[in-house]
Symmetry: C2
Subunit: 167 residues, 2 copies
């Protein structure tokens, strides 16, 4: 215990990162970043519901706006798997990739061996000035692969719901 005067304002690393990125620090922004700290890959609506817990009255549009702003300055990364709404994550700057379960939609990060983007370059770049190589691995997660019902699961790019089906 050090019951001394406390005149040093608590430095909130979240607020600092927002400010350092050149954005104004606002409650919705802090709330969105906080929500993303708990949940690795979430869509805008999930962020919205999480933000509402701590900051009721926040609008969904504000969440879209905040996510857009944070993504724009590189504090958040956006990732659009086919058949799913856009997902957002705080892990940023390491150009990692994603494993997506084509049956239940679960997502796992996988490290990029190279680290920096673009970690890959095509043989023929067709004159493009490439800045990113986005890699998405599709497959069955351990859980879905273990379920005998999925043993012959095709590449059904339409069924990315997180549902359990009853036989």
């Amino acid at each position: 215990m050090t019951p001394t005067r406390n005149d040093a304002p608590p430095v909130d690393p979240l607020a600092t990162s927002i400010r350092d990125a050149g954005l104004k620090v606002t409650a919705p922004r802090v709330a969105v970043l906080t929500a993303l700290a708990d949940m690795p890959h979430v869509d805008a609506d999930t962020v919205f519901r999480a933000v509402r817990e701590t900051l009721p009255g926040t609008s969904l549009q504000a969440v879209y706006g905040v996510l857009g702003a944070l993504t724009g300055v590189g504090l958040v990364r956006r990732f659009d798997p086919a058949g799913s709404p856009a997902l957002f994550e705080r892990r940023v700057g390491d150009n990692h990739h994603h494993l997506v379960c084509s049956h239940c939609g679960t997502i796992r990060d996988v490290d990029c061996v190279i680290g920096a983007a673009p970690c890959l370059t095509p043989v023929d770049t067709a004159g493009f000035r490439i800045h990113t190589a986005e890699v998405t691995f599709w497959g069955l997660c351990a859980e879905c692969a273990a379920d005998p019902r999925n043993s012959s699961d095709p590449i059904d790019s339409t069924t990315h719901t997180h549902s359990e089906e009853t036989p």
Copy 2:
């Protein structure tokens, strides 16, 4: 010239491929495949407008249905770049990848060095049974890179329109 009897019915390779895939051969299906033969990466609406030329009265829903069916049997490949509607292509079975211009949305195919999917495997598969590695390269196409206005074009994943901006 061999002006002989012609009693062998003309074998339509398109119709044959559809039938061989286990689907009924219908006019909309042939029309969609024909349209895709001309256009490498198009969205459902573009296919729809092309199909209408030769087969008026075809509904957009039919086009969605046909594209879904053809994708399901592997005659067509679907690809969902972030910020764009789903695109369809007939080039199939070679696991090729895509170059996307983040400024104008132009898409170019790039050969997969390996050929078969998954052409890549992450170091840690987290127990996933991976079947595909989907690689998308983002950058500026030669044309957009040449335009000095785009020389500092950021990774603006929101501007994938095929528009020209007037200064």
